[in-house]
Subunit: 340 residues, 2 copies
C-alpha cells in the first residue's frame, strides 16, 4: 500500500507553507532550537545558566481585531504582543509556536498573514518551531520563548521606594486610532496615517528590554493602559506611585487634541505595547544613554512611593502641579474602555 | 486614586481561579519552574544537560469535541493530547500554558473543566504556569513543556531496517465510541461504558515514553490512526514497513465486532493516544519487562523494511498470512474518517 494514497488535506498545505519558512529560518539562525516543526515536539536547548521565559496570547476575531482586518497586520500583531511580553522580562526571543483556527483555507489571506508574521519573526531572529492548524472560528494563539541569563529577569515585583517610573516611546496613539475607527472623534487622513500603525502593527521593545536587565527594578508592557498596567507593578511590589500627567509621553498628533483627550488616551488607552519600568535614580544617566543608543525616547513620568495604607495608590499630578482629587481621577479613568 | 476603583472583569475571576490551583501545585512541585502565573512571562530553568520539548494543540468546539461535551472530560483531554506528544518524545512533563476563549463565564462549567484539567496535571506533576483567557467561540489551546536528557529525545526519524514495530495498549476503541455516537453501529450500554473513556479521557503514556528513551529508535503517539501515524515514522526515517493486521492490539469489546470493523477501527481509527514505536529486536526482553513494570500491554505488530522505491510503503498481512493487494488495502483505508 503506497502512502501517497493518503490524501493531503487543505491544512496539510498550510502546515507545509508555514514549515518551509520555519525551516529556512532555522537553517540560518539555529541558536538554541534543536528540532523544529515535523515531530511530536520541538526541542529547545538553552545555554547553561539561562532561564526560559514563556508567554502566550490568544487573539480572537471580533474581540482583539475586527472581522476583515488586514491579514499582514494581524500576523505582525499576533507575534508582536508576545514579543512585547518577552521584552518586558528582558528576554531575548528564541522561537514561537503558532496554533491557528481558520474558517476556510484562503491562500491569499494565508500568504499575507504569514508575510506579516515572518517579517517580524526575522527581524528578531525568532523562528516558528511548532504549531497546530485546524478549522474553526478565526483564532490565533501564539506561545513565545525567550532566554534570560539566570536571575536577571525583570519581574513586576521589584520596584523600590524612590525609583523613577519610565515609559518608552509615546502612549495613547493606539487608543486615538480606535477612537477614529469608532467615530468618537475625527482625524484627518494624515493624522490617521501617522498613528494607525501603533494599533495595527505595534513595535515590541525587545532591544530595550534586553538592555534594561542591568538597571530596571521592575517592568511590564503597556497593553491595557498605562495606569492600569502600572498598578500591576504596584500590586506585585506592594508600593504606591506619583505620576505627573504632563510627563506621560504623547505623539505630536495626540498633543493636538484637547487636554482631557490627551490625558485620557495616554494614561488609560491600551494596545501601545511600550514598556513601563522602574529604575533607581542613580541610573538616570544609563537610561538616557540607552535612549540615545536605541534612538527611542524614554520619559520619566513619576516615582515609586511607600504604601500609605494596605492598598497601592497612584497619585496623579495635573499640569498645574495640583493633585487630582478622587472625582477628577474618576473622570479621567471612566474614559477607559480597552477594545472589547 | 485607589486602585480598587479598577473593576474586576469576569475573566479576572477565571484567571484567579486557575491561578489558585496553579500556585498550589507550584508550591508542592517546584521542580524547574522559577515563576508561574502573574508576570509578563513564566520562567523555566531546566537542569543542565536537559532539552526542553515543546508541543501545542488547539481544540475547537464542533471539530475536536461536540457542543455540550462534558467539561471535566474536555479539561482532561485538552491536557492529555499534549502530554501524549511529550510522551512520544520521551519527555518528562514540566508544565503547561492554557489559552482559552469562552463564549460566556459559566462558573459550573469552569469548575468542572478545571477539575478535569488539574486532576490529570497533578497525576503528572505538570503545573499550569501561564495563560490567557478571553471571550470568543469555545477554543482551548494548550502548550506543554517537558524535559529530556540531552540527545535522548525519541524522534520519528530513527527507525532502522529490522526494527520491531510496537503499539501500546489497544487501539480502535475511540473510533468504536465515535461510531456508536454517530449511530454507525449499535453498542450495548455495557460495551459503550467499556470503551467511551478511550475517546473522552485518553490516558497519555508518559511513563512508557520516559522508559523507552533507552530503547526506542523512533516513536509517536497515535492520534490520527495507527497506519497514518506509522507512515509519519516511515516518511521521516525513509523506510517501509510490514504490519500484521491480527497482531494490532484490540480490546475485548472491539474483538466482538466483525473482522472488517476490527481491522478498520484498529488500523485507521484515531484518537486513542497510544504510542507506536520501533525497537531493535535485541531489546525485545527489555520491552516486555517495561510492559510488566507498567502493567501495560505492549504488542509487536510488524517490522521495519528497507525502501523498495522512493516512496515508503506499508505492506499489510491479513489473518491468513496473505499480503493485502492495493484494492483490499484501499477498502480498509477508505473507512478512515477521523472526527471532524
Amino acid at each position: 500500500m503506497s502512502l501517497q494514497k493518503h490524501p493531503l488535506g487543505e491544512f496539510d498545505l498550510i502546515h507545509r507553507f508555514f514549515k518551509m519558512e520555519s525551516d529556512r529560518m532555522l537553517a540560518r539562525d539555529a541558536n538554541s532550537i534543536q528540532l523544529g516543526i515535523g515531530d511530536d515536539c520541538a526541542l529547545l536547548m538553552p545555554d547553561a545558566h539561562e532561564e526560559i521565559a514563556i508567554t502566550t496570547d490568544m487573539l480572537v476575531e471580533g474581540r482583539h481585531f475586527i472581522a476583515g482586518a488586514n491579514p499582514a497586520a494581524l500576523g505582525h500583531k499576533a507575534l508582536a504582543v508576545n514579543l512585547s511580553d518577552l521584552a518586558a522580562m528582558g528576554a531575548k526571543p528564541l522561537g514561537f509556536t503558532l496554533a491557528i483556527a481558520l474558517p476556510e483555507s484562503d491562500p491569499a489571506w494565508l500568504e499575507a498573514f504569514s508575510n506579516g508574521l515572518f517579517q517580524l519573526a526575522k527581524e528578531h531572529q525568532c523562528p516558528l518551531i511548532g504549531g497546530d492548524t485546524t478549522a474553526g472560528p478565526l483564532n490565533i494563539c501564539i506561545t513565545a520563548f525567550g532566554a534570560i541569563p539566570k536571575d536577571q529577569a525583570i519581574k513586576r515585583s521589584g520596584a523600590c521606594v524612590g525609583d523613577d517610573i519610565w515609559v518608552s516611546g509615546t502612549v495613547g496613539d493606539a487608543r486615538l486610532t480606535l477612537a477614529a475607527l469608532r467615530h468618537e472623534l475625527v482625524l484627518t487622513p494624515e493624522e490617521l496615517q501617522a498613528v494607525e500603525a501603533r494599533m495595527h502593527q505595534p513595535n515590541p521593545r525587545v532591544q530595550l528590554g534586553i538592555q534594561l536587565r542591568a538597571f530596571a527594578s521592575a517592568a511590564l508592557d503597556i497593553s491595557d493602559g498605562l495606569l492600569g498596567d502600572l498598578s500591576h507593578i504596584l500590586q506585585a511590589s506592594q508600593k504606591s506611585a506619583l505620576v505627573y500627567l504632563d510627563r506621560i509621553p504623547k505623539s505630536a498628533t495626540l498633543l493636538k487634541k484637547d487636554a482631557l483627550i490627551q490625558n485620557q488616551y495616554a494614561a488609560c488607552g491600551g494596545d501601545d505595547y511600550e514598556l513601563c519600568f522602574t529604575v533607581s535614580p542613580t541610573h538616570r544617566q544609563a537610561i538616557l544613554e540607552i535612549s540615545q543608543n536605541l534612538n527611542l525616547a524614554l520619559s520619566s513620568i513619576g516615582s515609586i512611593k511607600a504604601l500609605d495604607s494596605e492598598i497601592p495608590e497612584i497619585t496623579l499630578i495635573d499640569t498645574d502641579g495640583q493633585i487630582l482629587n478622587e472625582e477628577q481621577a474618576a473622570g479621567l479613568l471612566k474614559s477607559f474602555d480597552h477594545f472589547a
